[in-house]
């Protein structure tokens, strides 16, 4: 009699536990479907970044989307919609540097990439200030980081809308970011 009751409790307890686990997974992140509009005439900022081995300024700005799978997949789409692919190909680099390797010229932290997109960089990278909304720039910079496996696997995009041209960002091994020496292109801006 006693064992029957114990069995009942243990079975229902297990079911309850599984239910809690499943339900807790329902809302793993806050998704923003309607990002705030682009601000017109934003202020121009003097960048402190230096190319190559010079010490990078430590920024404390935290990316709002680094742990948001939806924002990452948005970033992946924006990467081709805003024609980043025109210069960086699908991350392997073309007339722009590769983004899926361990080498970083202007810093690998989210804030540095954000500022690279917003400010532009010498010899080619245009400034997208005011063109792309701030939230989308964060999405893009987070996606750029996922290309070399800097983000959590459950956040990085797992599939492409089109034919896969490289291993999905989810399956990329993490590469330890290294600051590049000054690239030839940046020596004489």
């Amino acid at each position: 009699m006693h064992s029957k009751k114990a069995k009942f409790v243990s079975r229902n307890g297990r079911a309850l536990l599984m239910l809690i686990v499943v339900v807790s997974a329902c809302k793993r992140e806050q998704r923003q479907f309607d990002p705030p509009p682009t601000t017109t005439n934003p202020a121009i900022v003097q960048s402190e970044l230096q190319p190559g081995g010079a010490p990078q300024p430590q920024t404390s700005t935290k990316s709002p989307v680094e742990e948001n799978a939806n924002a990452l997949s948005d970033g992946k789409r924006l990467f081709s919609l805003y024609n980043c692919t025109g210069c960086h190909a699908n991350g392997g680099g073309a007339i722009g540097p590769a983004l899926m390797d361990e080498t970083w010229i202007y810093g690998s932290d989210p804030a540095s990439i954000h500022s690279t997109i917003v400010e532009g960089r010498p010899n080619g990278m245009p400034s997208f200030r005011g063109k792309i909304s701030d939230y989308q720039v964060w999405e893009l910079s987070a996606y750029v980081r996922s290309l070399s496996g800097q983000l959590r696997k459950d956040v990085a995009p797992g599939r492409s809308d089109d034919m896969n041209v490289h291993r999905s960002e989810q399956r990329v091994e993490r590469k330890t970011p290294q600051q590049s020496t000054i690239p030839k292109a940046a020596e004489q801006p």
Partner: protein, 360 residues
């Protein structure tokens, strides 16, 4: 009570009527449906030029020949069934022993039928070969207008070539051609394979990345003809359409002169603000408006956007409301297309729409 009875009776009557009328009803319905095929803006059976006349000629020839063959075969089949029934009253009884004579006769019939079939198929082959040849044979001599069409996911870039570089211009999704003049199309693709198909004027021709395919066509009647991408090219393949406007020569020349011009300068304060919004937002990253610093060719050229009847590759009518929806969030209309959503403040959006609608 009586109501229910009435309904039951009516239903019963209706069922019986349908059952009885089946043999009349379905052929009539089919015929009605088929009438929808002809006389359309996008139909092989409504040829409007020499090229599509070739194709529809072949189509009718094949249809009529095959119909005659089909009817003959059916008549022979029924005749055989009827005759066979008379010949073998008892279906379980063993068949009569075949004589040498009947065996020979059967052999001759089969041989003749096979020979006729092969001959008909051979005629089809020869005819379709000559139709194909006829469509490309005079390509070199067709020195009319040269239009370069580039297939993109999911829209058509249209570039009017000219020996005079200042007369070259680019538009999108809507092609104007003069009536009665051969027009050469150079077909290219930038991403995947598309296919250019305007059934009233020409057959399908694939647009293959890295290759230039050339066709010519001619519209003999003024009118508008719908074209459609005919090679599956991704999510929005079905929404990759185009219009061809065949116009009298003077009308075409006037249109062409207008298209060569740079964009109209913004006249009102609102339009000026709209231009500023365009040039300082993401629009300028993909679209060109001749006469302004906007010069990117990743998306359709918008220099004379307001002169077009449709937007989004002939998907939406070109009016203010649809334009606004498209600019705001085109992904809800054509999911997967290459235009990101653009969030503007209401004032900026109205100004931008004013400006875009002034681009006549």
């Amino acid at each position: 009570m009586s109501n229910k009875l009435h309904i039951a009776v009516a239903r019963r009557f209706w069922c019986c009527a349908v059952r009885r009328a089946r043999f009349v009803l379905f052929p009539t319905l089919t015929a009605l449906l088929l009438t929808g095929c002809g006389g359309g803006l996008q139909s092989v059976l409504n040829p409007s030029g020499p090229q599509s006349e070739h194709i529809s000629g072949l189509w009718w020839f094949m249809l009529i020949t095959c119909t005659i063959v089909f009817v003959l075969v059916m008549i022979l089949l029924f005749a055989a069934v009827v005759k066979g029934r008379k010949g073998f009253p008892d279906p379980i009884a063993p068949p009569e022993k075949e004589t040498r004579e009947s065996e020979r006769r059967r052999g001759v019939v089969v041989a003749v039928a096979t020979a006729i079939t092969i001959a008909i198929l051979f005629v089809f082959i020869v005819d379709s070969f000559f139709v194909g040849r006829g469509m490309t044979a005079e390509l070199d001599r067709k020195q009319g207008i040269n239009i370069e069409v580039t297939g993109h996911q999911w829209w058509w870039e249209v570039r009017y070539q000219d020996v005079d570089a200042s007369s070259i211009f680019t538009t999108a999704n809507e092609i104007h051609i003069p009536v009665g003049v051969p027009v050469t199309f150079s077909l290219k693709a930038n991403d995947v394979i598309h296919s250019f198909w305007v059934p009233n004027l020409h057959g399908k021709k694939d647009l293959i990345p890295g290759k230039i395919s050339t066709i010519w066509l001619q519209a003999d009647k003024p009118g508008i003809y719908r074209g459609q991408c005919a090679e599956y090219c991704g999510h929005q393949h079905a929404h990759m359409a185009l219009w061809i406007f065949a116009e009298p020569r003077e009308q075409f020349d006037a249109w062409r002169r207008a298209q060569i011009q740079s964009a109209a300068s913004p006249a009102t304060a609102s339009e000026q603000r709209g231009q500023q919004v365009f040039l300082s937002s993401a629009c300028v990253m993909c679209h060109a408006i001749n006469g302004t610093p906007a010069g990117s060719n990743f998306g359709p050229n918008l220099t004379h956007l307001a002169s077009r009847k449709t937007i989004a590759a002939a998907t939406l009518p070109n009016d203010r409301q649809h334009l606004a929806q498209w600019v705001d969030d085109s992904q809800q209309i054509k999911p997967g297309n290459r235009m990101p959503p653009n969030k503007f403040s209401p004032e900026d959006m109205q100004a931008l729409l004013d400006y875009l609608q002034s681009l006549k």
